[in-house]
Structures are given as structure tokens and as C-alpha cells.
């Protein structure tokens, strides 16, 4: 029996197992919305802005490991979604974003609400499609999910003209898909893996440096097993946090621009660097000329283009992180394998000396609320078991430094693109996926205002996230750079005319709590965690001029940190 393109679309989502669709209706997608209205398998979440739809789907994807799915209309619907698509692209998050398009007969005519969505999104997607033929709709949707979720994951856009959703065709959803032009490598080259393991056995000052790829490939267990077998120190990138338990002795903190003293010095002084699912981002390497000057580098990544892009490596291994780690574990577990135990004792001694510097110390007796303390208290109150999303800036770094993530997929932030306004919609997606979990969005008074309209969506769907605002009245990271590098000329970094966040939250039917004394932090957080039927908006009035330390200034090496 022939059904309409809109019905085919909905059937595809059902067959793909999509339980949550984030979207916003409009002219070009009205047929699809009509088809959605007449079924109850795919739940549609109506956001208040298309950017939030993409961030919510992104948060859902990061927390669950399943692709996030978005539906928006043509023109402004599509352009509003672009920031969220680019955010997912930079962090390799699987999204499938459907954009409505004007009817095929009008494409190129500057029709109402027409933009070249495929053209606009091309540089910030893994791949995109324009479906002009109803007979290719189902197979294209299948391909979109396949491309988004395999290899190095990423967002895929499917642009569907309105007339295609009205035409009729037989429905057939392919069980499998093969594309002659797309065959990601999964299995690492065993010869390269042997060479890598041999180098590990000879290492005197080894260092594991792991990133978001471990989280994306669900390789936490393998990473933990290998790290423990080797007894090497491990540092993680902003995107990798949680893949290895932060409370474990071998974890020496995040590395990079705001990484710990011990992690950055460990990197700088290591003789064998084992990079796994990480991409040598500039926020990690600092000045590449000064990066790991004495190290031989092993790099495991599913994306060949990530290897030797920023830093030349000695042993490249292309493959999925989990598969390569399994192969490594096999070799390392063999009785013939041993590490240089004596050298390791010395190396650990050195690392413990660095760790004893306690680079994350801050004034715990201040009369002002220290933002670090809010994060620490949140960690205690939630038993370290919350999903934490963040926006971008100082609060993001404090969240990464002071909330000790022991599990993967608990720390959800825009690492690559650095998108302010990400945190609250992302938290929305997480809470939808895990209705009973505690989901906190650590944010600032600047970032939160970039998607604050979503308080309405949160109300509509009864999602009780905790908004933890570290309100210092400044765009804190901008102010920090202006303090350090622009002689305290605070150009446009002061946030004036702030709303009363408590009243604002209450006007939506949420709870609001303002906290301005350190002594009240814990009680407020406990109260917030106890409220399960609406959002709690916590407005922490913090020390205005607190800075994020340590800090590697732009252009400096990893051993050139500014400490408190």
C-alpha cells in the first residue's frame, strides 16, 4: 500500500527506534507534523527555539549513546539549528537533523522561508542529503542514521522538500545499508598495536592521555582495565572526563589550558605518550612547538585525519578505541609483557610531588561564595552521581575541575565549539532520557540567558533539572582574559540589567532560590535535589573576580602554567 512521504518519515523513525524527536513546526514540515499527530510511538518534544532542539537532541545523544533526532522547518528553522549542528560536529556527536524544504518546484526561486540548507550546513556536518525523490526517502533516512552513528560519529542533515512529504510510495525500510564510498575502519592494525605495546613496556615516564573518543565508543571498561594493568598515570581531556574514574589514584586530573599542574607537567616530561581517542586540540597542546618534547607518541583514533594533524606521531593506530584497547589488553596481559617497574616508581614519586602542590586549592574561608565550592558541594550532595551539563566559560572549567566524574556520559558540555546556551537544553535532553536521574546544569548568568526561553519547555514536559548559576555579574572567562592580557580593560564583559532569576523561574511555575552566603550553599542544593516536580533555578551570587587556575596562556607550553 502506498503511503505519503510524511507517513514514510514517521515509519522510518519508528523502525529506527527513535523515542524522542526534538522539533518545532513550520510551513514546510506541516505534512510531517500531521503524520506525527496521528501516531503515538515517536514522542515529539516542542522546544521554544530550534537551536535548543539540536542541543537537547545532542544532550540526549551524549547521555544515552543513541543518536539525537531533530525536526525543524525550512529557512529560519534550519538556520537556527545550525549552531547546534556545528556544536555536535566539533564534538563528534551522532545527530540526525531533518530540515523541511520548500517544494522542489520552488527550490532556487528565493521562495518564502527558503535557504540552501544543504549548502549552509555542509561545512558543519559529517554528511548531508537533499531528498528529491519520494522513492529514496526511506533509504536516505536509513543512510543518515548509519553515517551519523558509525565510524567517527557526527551530525547528518536530511533536507526534505514539502512536496516529497505529500507524494505517495510503497514503504520499505532497508534492514541494512552499504555504501561503496563509506567504510570506516574498526579493527586496528595488529602490527602497529604490537609496536605500541612494546614501546609501553620500555617506557620510563609513560602517560595516558585520553579523550572523548573513549566515551563515544563506550570503551570505559577497557580503558580502565588497561590503565590498571599498566599502572601508568592517566590524564583526560575535557571531553574525556568520566571515562576513567576521577576518584582513582592513577587519575591525575584534566590536562590542557586549565588542566592540573601534575597532568600538564606529566605530559611535558613523559617519554611515551599514549593518546587514545583524543585529537591534540589547541586547548590541550598549548604551543605545539613545545608539546611533549621528549615523548614518543602512540595515537589511537578511528579518524585517520586526526592522526598527525596537529602533532606528528610515531605509532599511528587507526581503529575503534574499544577494539584496539581489547587487543592491547590481550598483549599486556600476556606473561611475556612487563613494564619498567623501577622507573615507574620514580615517575610516580615525581608525579606525587607535583600533585602535592594542590593546584586546585582555593580560599575556603572566604565570606564570599567561591564558585569552586558550589561545584564541590554539588558533587557531595549528589553523591557524585548526577548528570552534569554546562555552558561555556569559567563555570564550565570549574565544573570539569571540581566535579569528580567516575562514570562516562555524565559530563555533558560543548568542548569543541564552546557554545554558550548549550547547557540548559542539553540538560533537557538528558532528563528526558533519564527521568529519574538528577540532572544539573552548571551555568553562568551570561550563558543561561542565551537559551533561557527553554524554561517554558521544561515546564511543559515537567523536567525537574537543577540550574546551578554561578552568578558573578561578569562574562567571567572574558573578564579573566581582560584582567590578564588587556590590563583590566573590561570591555563589554560586565553583565548589566540582569533579571531577578528567582522571580523569572517562578513566573514559569518553577522554583527559584538565591544564595549569597557560603554557609547556605549546601542547604540550597539539598533542597533543590529534593524537589522533583519542577525546575529549581539556583542563583549563586559568587565572588566577582575569581579566576580559573591553573592556566596556560595562549602560545605557552604545558610547563608554563600560571598558578594561583
Amino acid at each position: 500500500m502506498e503511503i505519503t512521504g510524511a507517513e514514510i518519515f514517521v515509519r522510518c523513525l519508528e523502525d529506527e527506534g527513535v523515542d524522542c524527536l526534538f522539533g518545532y513546526p513550520g510551513g514546510a514540515v506541516l505534512h510531517i507534523y500531521d503524520a506525527l499527530y496521528q501516531q503515538d510511538k515517536v514522542r515529539h518534544i516542542l522546544v521554544r527555539h530550534e537551536q535548543a532542539a539540536t542541543h537537547a537532541a545532542d544532550g540526549y545523544a551524549r547521555a544515552t549513546g543513541k543518536p539525537g533526532v531533530v525536526l525543524v522547518t525550512s529557512g529560519p528553522g534550519a538556520t537556527n539549528a545550525v549552531t547546534g549542528i556545528a556544536t555536535a560536529h566539533l564534538d563528534s556527536i551522532p545527530l540526525v537533523v531533518f530540515t523541511g524544504q520548500v517544494p522542489t518546484s520552488l527550490i532556487g526561486n528565493d521562495a518564502f522561508q527558503e535557504v540552501d540548507s544543504v549548502g549552509i550546513t555542509r561545512p558543519c556536518v559529517k554528511h548531508n542529503f537533499l531528498v528529491k525523490d519520494i522513492n529514496e526517502l526511506a533509504s536516505t533516512i536509513k543512510k543518515a542514521f548509519y553515517v551519523a552513528t558509525t565510524g567517527r560519529p557526527g551530525p547528518v542533515v536530511v533536507d526534505i522538500p514539502k512536496d516529497v512529504t505529500a507524494q505517495r510510495a510503497e514503504y520499505h525500510y532497508p534492514a541494512e545499508v552499504s555504501m561503496r564510498s563509506y567504510n570506516p575502519v574498526v579493527k586496528g592494525h595488529i602490527g602497529q598495536i604490537r609496536r605500541a605495546v612494546k614501546l609501553m613496556s620500555q617506557a620510563r615516564r609513560p602517560m595516558l592521555y585520553t579523550g572523548g573518543g573513549v566515551v563515544l565508543d563506550n570503551a570505559s571498561e577497557e580503558l580502565t582495565e588497561l590503565t590498571r594493568l599498566l599502572d601508568f598515570p592517566i590524564t583526560q581531556t575535557l571531553m574525556g572526563l568520566g571515562a576513567y574514574p576521577a576518584t582513582d589514584r592513577q587519575f591525575i586530573g584534566m590536562l590542557g589550558m586549565h588542566g592540573t599542574y601534575e597532568a600538564n607537567l606529566g605530559m611535558h616530561n613523559c617519554d611515551v605518550l599514549i593518546a587514545i581517542g583524543a585529537r591534540f586540540d589547541d586547548r590541550v597542546t598549548g604551543n605545539v612547538e613545545k608539546f611533549c618534547p621528549t615523548a614518543k607518541i602512540i595515537h589511537v583514533d578511528i579518524d585517520p585525519a586526526s592522526i598527525s594533524k596537529n602533532v606528528e606521531v610515531d605509532i599511528p593506530i587507526v581503529g575503534s578505541v574499544s577494539t584496539v584497547l581489547k587487543d592491547m589488553i590481550k598483549l599486556v596481559s600476556d606473561s611475556s609483557f612487563s613494564t619498567d617497574k623501577e622507573a615507574l616508581v620514580e615517575w610516580w614519586k615525581q608525579i606525587e610531588e607535583w600533585r602535592a602542590m594542590d593546584c586546585l586549592k582555593y580560599d575556603r574561608n572566604s565570606d564570599l561564595i567561591k564558585p569552586q565550592m558550589v561545584v564541590e558541594k554539588l558533587y557531595e550532595v549528589t553523591n557524585g552521581d548526577a548528570f552534569v551539563t554546562s555552558d561555556v566559560g569559567q563555570h564550565q572549567m570549574w565544573a570539569a575541575q571540581y566535579y569528580k566524574f567516575d562514570k562516562p556520559r555524565r559530563w555533558i558540555n560543548s568542548g569543541g565549539l564552546g557554545t554558550m546556551g548549550f547547557g540548559m537544553p542539553a540538560a533537557m535532553g538528558v532528563q528526558l532520557a533519564f527521568p529519574d536521574a538528577t540532572v544539573a546544569c552548571i551555568t553562568g548568568e551570561g550563558s543561561i540567558q542565551m537559551n533561557i526561553q527553554e524554561l517554558s519547555t521544561l515546564k511543559q514536559y515537567g523536567l525537574p533539572i537543577k540550574v546551578v548559576t554561578l552568578n558573578n555579574g561578569y562574562l567571567g572567562m572574558v573578564r579573566q582574559w581582560q584582567e590578564f592580557f588587556y590590563d583590566k580593560r573590561y570591555a563589554m564583559s560586565y553583565m548589566e540589567s540582569l533579571p531577578d532569576f528567582v522571580k523569572l523561574a517562578e513566573s514559569y511555575g518553577h522554583a527559584g532560590i538565591r544564595v549569597d552566603k557560603p554557609a547556605d550553599i549546601e542547604a540550597a542544593l539539598r533542597e533543590a535535589v529534593a524537589i522533583r516536580d519542577r525546575v529549581v533555578f539556583l542563583d549563586f551570587i559568587t565572588d566577582k573576580e575569581e579566576n580559573v587556575y591553573p592556566m596556560i596562556p595562549a602560545g605557552a607550553g604545558q610547563n608554563e602554567m600560571i598558578l594561583v
Binding site: G119, P123, K126, P304, A305, S308
Partner: protein, 164 residues
């Protein structure tokens, strides 16, 4: 160094702009680019000439390989290969002496005179890019009215093929 990169790509709308977009987004330079369907009409063959350090060329080939529409790719300059480019050039010839000179040049470079008018000779010339450059470089006082080059195409020597 100069590299000739040959690409087999899905013959689909937008495939070319993915390649062109990649080069502009990542700041790579394209010296020439040609594209046309192959004997299999679902595939196009693209030939790209670019310059860069070994590290940049490696990134270019890796990034190109990452494009979902690209089926196969080969850096022709890595092995023995043939390269050809075609040029059509319209030269101003205002007297007998210039006509003779252009005719002689065309013969030396194995070019063909395709068209003549009172004021012009149009020459077709095929060869490596450097041969075409040499022809232009030797024209002396003869004025070039118009010049069009096809961009380079290349193929490996021997049995080696770039195909599905």
C-alpha cells in the same frame, strides 16, 4: 611540492562543492580542478592539482577520504604517471611574419591551428602543464588575446588503475 590527486566520487549534485568547500574551509590551495563522469555514469573522476608540504598533502588526502561521497583516491605523484592538460589560446597575428611565427611555434610544440581570422590564430595544445607554460613563455611579442586551460588530468602508468 606539486601533487596531482585523482578522485573517484559519486556523481551526485553537490559532490563537487563538498570538495571545493573542504579546500576553502581548511585553507588548502587548488591550482586546477577538473571533473567529468566516467564510463560508469554513477561515478565522476576528479583531478585536483595542489601544492603543499608533505604534512599538508597527507592532511588533504585524509580529509578528502573522509568525505562520504568519495569512493577512491590516489595521489598520482606518488608513482609513475601520465599527465595531460589541454589549452586553447587565441593569439593576435597582424602581419605575415607573426602568422608564420605562430605557425612555427605550434608545429614545434605539436599544437594545431584550429581557427584563423584576419587578426587571430586559435591554437590547440596538449601536454604536461609545464609544456603549456613553455609555449606561453616563448611567445615573445605575440599578444595573447584569450587563453583557456582545461586543468590537469592524470592516469597511472602500467597496469595500475584507479577504479572501483
Amino acid at each position: 611540492m606539486r601533487h596531482i590527486i585523482s578522485i573517484i566520487i559519486e556523481n551526485e549534485a553537490g559532490a563537487l562543492s563538498r570538495v571545493a568547500g573542504l579546500f576553502s574551509a581548511r585553507g588548502y590551495n587548488i591550482e586546477s580542478l577538473t571533473v567529468a563522469p566516467t564510463n560508469d555514469p554513477s561515478l565522476s573522476r576528479m583531478t585536483l592539482v595542489t601544492r603543499g608540504t608533505e604534512q599538508i598533502i597527507e592532511q588533504i588526502t585524509k580529509q578528502l577520504n573522509k568525505l562520504v561521497d568519495i569512493v577512491r583516491l590516489q595521489d598520482m605523484t606518488e608513482g609513475e604517471h601520465l599527465e595531460r592538460e589541454m589549452m586553447l589560446v587565441k593569439l593576435r597575428v597582424s602581419n605575415h611574419q607573426e602568422r608564420e611565427e605562430v605557425k612555427r611555434f605550434a608545429d614545434i610544440f605539436r599544437g594545431r591551428v584550429l581557427d584563423v581570422s584576419d587578426l587571430s590564430y586559435t591554437i590547440e595544445l596538449t601536454g604536461s602543464s609545464s609544456k603549456l607554460d613553455a609555449f606561453i613563455g616563448n611567445l615573445g611579442k605575440i599578444q595573447v588575446m584569450e587563453l583557456v586551460r582545461s586543468g590537469v588530468i592524470g592516469i597511472a602508468r602500467g597496469d595500475k588503475v584507479l577504479a572501483l
